[in-house]
């Protein structure tokens, strides 16, 4: 069944990554049918969980050769699926996964691509896309002259898709493992298992900057507040660089872009690259010792003072609230 | 007259600005309080190429012309807040490196210049004595030839880089009966017997630049360390001092520019009575005049740089440049404090330090009074 849009869904081998479903919302805006694409190994359950989002087809590329997301293999399978689906748009949600494989797939398909689309509009009879540039300090409205296109969209800009009871057919794709590229080999992955919610999905995020001095203090203050509020932990680039937090906590232009209900910035001055990652948060709280810190220009509530004293007080106050 | 920088000059200046911004961005407040000299920053500047700007490439330098050199030093002064470091670098360049380039033997140049260029050696000179400052050539320090050595006796004061210098250009008299014609220059190296540069002098400003009183007690200097010829010291000194006068405040122009921008920012952000203080005429006027001072200082500096590359006799320009920039710097720093009010008086705001650093400019390399005397005589009075 021809679909106008093919959506790449991301998973972590255990669950579907919910932000990747937001691409469905974008596809619905583009109009026309949409199909979903899942790659990996042992995907029956995950594929079933995608029924209920109104996709015309759920394409499943399930093969041991695809057990790990090696870009050369995945891009080829994605490109093949795109051709097979006869879709005109290939869409994914911005993530390191989609950014790794989709541009390569675009090249294999000989089509242009747009990254981090935050809005789709109409302009003079055709579509225009809005996306951030220069660390989000500007928004560009662009058009593509190609009928076929690849897009990644920002999850927060499109929201979670409402369920749709329309019937989705699950179709297993035939994978010729022998014809897949062999130049890349997966060695290892360092993944932390955490009780805390995913940084890009959490309702509350507590961010820590370099003034937190050491890992122990970072974990105690940022982690303490996060755990009390059931939130996730983020960090500035400076904090990650000095070893206070691991790289996947980084929020900003080249890290993760988040839009929680509540973002509390501890000891963060507000470099433009960091602000790029948080400015769509509903409520921003900033605690910083420097009254002139740029973050106060953006914070809903700003508290000037020494975080080493204020954060323990805040933890107490929240506990009693 | 083409006032534009060439592409090559612009590249140098951009590289300097970025280097200083990223590599020389350390805490100066604490270093200033403790009068700590940053060896690390010195080495970085050497590796970057600052100290060797004017030295011919065959000795490890960059072979740049004087105009480019002063423009680089100005940019450095803008992007690096450590006026003391820059003062030490300038003293090194004009009072030790230049005399070596102009008067050194091939052996001396090969021995000292590469290290003086790349940051591994620190130089300076020693002319002033407790009883002879402005009256430069009335030296009490003597040098007596003994076989293949000179024996130096005496003391020098206000020796910039003294405590950390690897080599000093020391002026001593080989024959007092000849007066100024007996003044002779020697290269005295750290560790030479009888050479004691360790008596540190604490100063009002440019405190991160080390200074000491230096003592020579039967100090033995080998004959091959004679710089120039016997009795040639006065001429050597006058020549190096002229360049020193014209160039030593190049970084100060950059510091003034930085101060000006700081004042403009403050005047816009600080609000009193519901409006920015920059809208008050008394504040605005001070800043406008600061701008004029910075511009005129810069133009005199560049003019000197150009003239020094095109002719030999630049005494008038050197004196005028030094006098004007020194006066401008002190006045800018004073006004900056006034504009910042109480915050200008606080150490933390790094405004008061600029004034303490600037005041020395009216004293070293010839006091402002001496510069006026020179100008007066050179314009025919």
């Amino acid at each position: 069944m021809p679909a106008k849009n093919l959506i790449l869904i991301e998973h972590d081998r255990r669950q579907i990554k919910r932000p990747s479903l937001h691409a469905i919302t974008a596809a619905r805006q583009l109009g026309g049918d949409y199909a979903l694409l899942l790659l990996g190994q042992g995907l029956d359950e995950l594929a079933q969980s995608l029924v209920g989002y109104g996709a015309s087809t759920i394409f499943v590329a399930d093969d041991p050769a695809l057990a790990e997301p090696l870009a050369d293999r995945y891009a080829k399978v994605i490109a093949d699926a795109f051709r097979k689906s006869a879709a005109s748009a290939l869409i994914g949600t911005s993530s390191t996964f989609s950014k790794d494989v989709l541009p390569r797939a675009a090249a294999l398909l000989d089509v242009p691509m747009l990254t981090d689309v935050i809005a789709i509009e109409e302009y003079e009879g055709s579509l225009s896309y809005r996306r951030p540039i220069s660390a989000g300090s500007m928004l560009a409205t662009v058009q593509l002259s190609s009928e076929r296109r690849v897009l990644t969209i920002r999850a927060a800009a499109f929201g979670a898709p409402a369920s749709d009871p329309a019937v989705s057919l699950v179709e297993k794709l035939t994978i010729d493992a022998a014809s897949l590229p062999n130049g890349m080999k997966f060695i290892s992955r360092e993944e932390r298992v955490s009780d805390r919610p995913d940084l890009t999905e959490a309702r509350v995020v507590i961010g820590g900057g370099r003034p937190l001095k050491d890992k122990e203090t970072f974990d105690r203050l940022v982690g303490g507040l996060a755990d009390l509020l059931g939130g996730a932990i983020g960090a500035t680039r400076a904090a990650v660089d000095t070893g206070l937090a691991p790289n996947d906590f980084q929020i900003g232009q080249t890290g993760k872009v988040i839009a929680p209900e509540l973002y509390i910035a501890l000891g963060i001055s507000g470099a433009i690259q960091h602000l790029a990652g948080i400015k769509d948060s509903r409520v921003i709280v900033a605690i910083n010792k420097d009254p002139d810190a740029p973050i106060f220009q953006m914070a809903t509530y700003g508290l000037v003072g020494d975080l080493h004293q204020l954060v323990p007080q805040l933890i107490e106050a929240v506990r009693n609230a | 007259m083409d006032f534009a920088w060439s592409d090559q000059q612009r590249e140098l200046l951009d590289a300097v600005g970025r280097f200083a911004r990223e590599q020389l961005d350390y805490d100066v407040i604490e270093n200033d309080r403790k009068a700590t000299f940053s060896h690390e920053a010195w080495k970085k500047c050497g590796e970057f190429g600052i100290q060797g700007l004017l030295v011919p490439t065959e000795y490890g330098g960059l072979g740049q012309d004087p105009l480019t050199t002063v423009a680089v030093l100005e940019r450095l002064g803008y992007a690096c807040k450590d006026n003391g470091l820059l003062f030490s670098i300038n003293a090194h360049m004009w009072t030790a490196v230049s005399p070596l380039v102009n008067n050194g033997t091939e052996a001396q140049k090969q021995k000292f210049l590469p290290g003086l260029c790349n940051g591994t050696l620190i130089g300076g000179n020693a002319m002033s004595e407790p009883n002879s400052g402005s009256d430069a050539f009335a030296l009490a320090t003597t040098a007596t030839k003994q076989g293949d050595k000179y024996i130096l006796n005496g003391s020098k004061i206000f020796i910039t880089n003294g405590p950390v210098a690897d080599v000093l250009v020391v002026f001593a008299n080989v024959d007092k009966s000849r007066g100024a014609d007996g003044v002779t220059a020697f290269l005295v190296e750290k560790g030479m017997p009888g050479f004691d540069p360790s008596h540190k002098i604490e100063k009002m400003g440019v405190r991160t630049s080390p200074m000491s009183e230096v003592f020579f007690e039967n100090c033995e200097v080998p004959a091959e360390n004679l710089l120039g010829k016997e009795g040639g010291g006065a001429f050597l000194f006058t020549r190096s001092l002229t360049w020193e006068r014209g160039c030593i405040l190049a970084s100060a122009v950059g510091s003034m520019q930085r101060l000006l921008e700081k004042c403009i920012r403050y005047a816009n952000e600080r609000k009193q009575g519901g409006q920015s203080i920059g809208k008050f005429q008394q504040v605005a006027t001070k800043i406008v005049e600061m701008k004029l001072r910075v511009e005129s200082a810069r133009h005199m500096l560049y003019h000197f740089g150009w003239v020094a590359g095109h002719r030999k006799a630049v005494y008038l320009e050197a004196a005028m440049t030094k006098l004007h920039i020194a006066d401008a710097w002190v006045k800018c720093a004073e006004d900056a404090i006034q504009i910042h009010g109480g915050y200008g008086y606080m150490t933390e705001y790094e405004v008061e330090r600029e004034l303490r650093d600037a005041i020395g400019a009216k004293l070293y390399s010839g006091t402002s009074e001496i510069q006026r005397n020179i100008i007066a005589s050179l314009i025919g009075l």
């Binding site: 220069s134 300090s137 409205t141 | 590289a15």
Partner: protein, 251 residues
Amino acid sequence: MTQPIAKILVPFKSVPDPYEAAAPGGTGATAKSVINPFDEIAIEEALRIRERGEASEIVGLTIGAPAVDEQVRAALAMGVDRAIRIDDARALDPYAVARILRTVVEKEAPQMVLMGKQAVDDDSNQVGQMLAGLLGWPQATFVSRIEFLEDRICARCTRETDAGLEVVDITLPAVITTDLRLNEPRYVSLPGLMKARKKPIEVLTCAQLGVQVEPQTTTISTARPPKRSAGTRVESVEELVAKLKEEAKVL
């Protein structure tokens, strides 16, 4: 005794200086250009690989008008051996760039293409991956560590992903894109700039390369995002918690 890899090609982009653009009280725009910070990291890594004796020649590559020669000289000043500028002043989109780069890669035949993961003006993060796809080469993106395995046929790359760190082995020739924490680039020194003036810059046109591409992306307009207005200052933790609870209703 294994030979060093013969050639690393480092494509880099000239971008508006992000430091100048972010200057407080400014308009956000700047006339000053620099080498894209991520590409600088790639240049630095290539230089370090060469300094370890693991590569022989580092070749820089950029696309742009003659004005970008300033950035080319900066790359040469850092230590790149020679550089190529494709003379093309058009606003190119990532796919057009990738197709032009592909023809240079085919001409130069390097064992590795090392470049920044994204340009800080466009933030697309596509070119490296597209280039790898066009060449049919393995790729490693957002890399924070590169190690050659014994025979230098293979590079072990650590990648920074949303979940943490991942390690992949890729056979050469390959395309690697760099992330922030790979290294801290050396600054351009004045002696480096002097030496750079003697290094060759080869200028080529798309016609000479035999490549004709048109960008397929047009920018209609750019605008500042809606400004988030500054909120209020609170004086105490108690006041903050009260406001979060009652006003923002977020606790």
